[in-house]
Symmetry: D2
Subunit: 294 residues, 4 copies
């Protein structure tokens, strides 16, 4: 691939109108500009934070096309194309490719628990249908499927364009295994906010996170301290942002990030039901956390 992924990879939210029915693409554009102004090294639309799973096919296409057009190559873009069916994921992957994505991200979403052979074939079929690099995404909490490191590495070896791995189990030992068994050649990315420091220490190439919507400077400082081999500085800046990282994880990313954007001058609506907006107590806590952070 021409563009490599590293550093802080920011998730976009998907803004809705007040009743949750309509997309608000104008607000989406402004949230993208914020992320880029905040220094993210790449952008990942339509992931978990982007409520991709809650959009109709048409809405999904509108958000994907708009995001790619608006980012316009200012930073590399990796579009989440997960779908419950293989055919649907292929359709989305091709759509992303045609509209200029630099890579796609694939979570093996499942209703029925998938076997290893089914997961492998899912990635193989998607890989065969596009030329873009694929970031394999492991997140059992949302997908219902936990891929072992052995399975992940087999997919990376055998499906040519699966070249990156995003790990969100929250178990740092998975990253150790990716580093050891992958012999340092398989770039992996952290998707679990509270592990931001440890993942970089373990060798992660990047951190996929919604946090730069709210605290871009702290996120950057953590990455820079690690790059500068300054453990004490990295630890200090990590613990400064950890309360917010834990808050957005525990409170739900769409609800907390959308609330935080609204508090900082960019109204983006609420998450789509049944997911609730952040409640009053949560808003007060978030206000307080944002005040403590630059």
């Amino acid at each position: 691939m021409s563009k490599t992924f590293h550093g802080i990879i920011g998730y976009t939210i998907t803004p809705f109108s007040a009743d949750g029915e309509q997309l608000d693409l104008d607000a989406l554009g402004r949230s993208i500009d914020r992320l880029i102004d905040g220094g993210v090294h790449a952008i990942a639309p339509l992931g978990s934070t982007g409520e991709g799973a809650y959009l109709s096919d048409l809405e999904w296409q509108q958000v994907a096309a708009f995001s790619l057009r608006h980012i316009a190559g200012r930073v590399p873009t990796i579009v989440s194309v997960s779908d419950l069916t293989t055919a649907g994921a292929i359709r989305r992957a091709r759509f992303a490719q045609e509209h200029g994505a630099d890579a796609v991200m694939v979570l093996p979403a499942a209703y029925w628990k998938l076997t290893e052979a089914e997961i492998f074939e899912h990635y193989r079929a998607i890989g065969a249908s596009i030329k873009l690099p694929i970031m394999l995404y492991n997140n059992p909490a949302t997908s219902g499927t936990d891929m072992s490191v052995d399975l992940i590495l087999r997919i990376v070896r055998e499906v040519e364009n699966v070249t990156m791995v995003k790990e969100s189990t929250g178990d740092i030992q998975r990253m150790h295994k990716l580093q050891l068994l992958g012999e340092g050649k398989v770039p992996f990315y952290n998707g679990c906010n509270p592990l931001a420091l440890e993942a970089f220490v373990a060798g992660a190439s990047g951190w996929c996170t919604a946090a730069p919507n709210l605290i871009p400077a702290l996120n950057q400082q953590l990455y820079q301290a690690v790059q500068a081999n300054d453990l004490n500085a990295a630890k200090a800046v990590f613990y400064r942002q950890l309360p917010l990282l834990e808050f957005i994880l525990k409170g739900g990313l769409p609800a907390t990030i959308k609330a935080g954007l609204g508090m900082t001058g960019l109204p983006v609506g609420e998450p789509r039901r049944p997911v609730f907006a952040l409640d009053t107590a949560g808003q007060a806590r978030l206000q307080q956390l944002l005040k403590q952070m630059p």
Copy 2:
């Protein structure tokens, strides 16, 4: 409601063309006739077994409308209307009502783990949008959300048309709690095949199952033995069918039921990818099991 639900409630599969792309409604009609000929007391289209989660909205409507038209009131029908968004579930519930369903079934499908308040509001909103009775369905293995008995009973008490509970955790003690805390007034249904005997013994009103597609007589005999207060007979007929019940659960309901229908003269295609069809070894085992059972 005018029609009550009890006994053996059969799931339909959703037949596809060979490439998995097209619906085969003709085969669906024949599978429905088979279920009714086999004596089921009710039919539940578009549930897990029916691959409801893998259908487009249009396909879902086609299957729902066709099923209701084809059943034509010969037995009561309960249509699964689960959707990741509350708005989507409401649309489906209204569609089912307009097309003549006797009840709807709702699983709180989730991408983001839902809070109890979000689940409650999901059921409240769906309940307020239709007049049909609702069967609340708890199945953490597929929905990612486990509802406590306390939450379930609160929903039953406070949402007027949530009148039935389907329990699929596989933990018989949940049914004990439903019976004790519901003071015997909340009808509950078993959705875990290997618990068929124990659930009836614990007081379940019915058994929601895909098994009558393959072994309707054994399913009926179990129910009748329980009705006849004949524990020894119930136990004997339960253990006769248990190997098949375990096989279809472990092998995946769409894959095993579709294979079994094909073996018995009704080709219905394969599950939609990424779910695999039953493999050769599985087919041999299924053949063997079906031969052992009438």
Copy 3:
């Protein structure tokens, strides 16, 4: 073995002096007489309820010897001889044999999680050291080790005097597997009180329980209804006693049974620390439950 085990198998508690330091063998004798008067078909001293794990080696021997002497063959006796070391379990098994036990019970207690080979060898070595039949006991909640049904049946096949299986996982499907894979020839016993009805329905030969210390008549009636093939009666008497069965499980068997014995005229002291005696609210609830039951 000359004596077979079936029906209601009652656990003894181990009475202590007020400060928890001394054994109160006199009270133990009276509690044994109560159990026998209540109709238990066998007695199991020094199990979980008997706080066997909290006794010194000397105390363990005193309780074992006294219990066997006091029971004096009025009913068969099965002594729990579990110990963290194989050598210790063998010493206890031989002691029990020398003092007249009819069988011994062995839980594979573990500090370090045991492999299947280690568990097998543990049973083999104990089996080779005595002539008594052994009841293998699976209870991961207290032992930390969960034995699969396959492992259990391998031990039963290969260790001659392991002839009975006690299952306490709370998963009724384990009993189904024991029945199916053991081809109905391996007698199994239920050790999970709230599964009393379902276990008998699934084919359990007996129910190992502390409940006959408090509600012997209800326990007997359940067993008799099952023997009489009267499902409705069994269900009714099961639900009558279920609130108490759940209470003693949730509140801790030594604490609740000891409190209940005290309330009914037989003071037996408190559990040994760190386990607490039943608190005031628990005592009030237990009083209420006991009043509701004959």
Copy 4:
């Protein structure tokens, strides 16, 4: 306390004679000398690795007394005094204090799952019985009891001489919480070998580990790199030793450490049954790992 605990805290094994029956105190002395020669900052006898749970009371006292006499203040000593009963743990804690221990370590070992109130009272009672500092040890995998960070910090605040926390859940986020909620004032120690790097990065004061029996230089280098704020060096030396750290964890600490000591000239016997010695394949793998490491 006069002596503080930090850095590499080495566990001793407990050597047995060939039949597993007798203690080999001479070998124990030599293993202690090795640890001190290897540079450990403190020694912890009778922990998990030391098979403390598998010793009789008399053996436990012999090992404790011998270890303290042999260490003779060359490094601080922290003696594990865990016992299933509170009375037993108090006896051991007093014994350790009388024989010169600098601190004691307490795991809330449990047969019956303990409530938070029972755990608290266990620590309170032990704390009140001695003057030494206590290291609270959380390891649900061996104790069966998982203490929340909130409970741990309450014990630290309210029991004066509980001044240190050892965390072995394997979840690095527990250490984050200890650091944040303890406001950096509660020293915590890592007990999970594969988290050695991340724990130091998260702020752990020390690493309690059996590894210095085999690879003391690598353990020291990791600690020194962290102290020198050299993240790259720490990462490099961590990944060099990680295969061995994972091997000893997965293979069982007593079995693998004892085998490794034997391979390097210090025969210490096998673990006590039912725990097996390292098998042939494991020995070959361990040989290979030790050759790769200085």
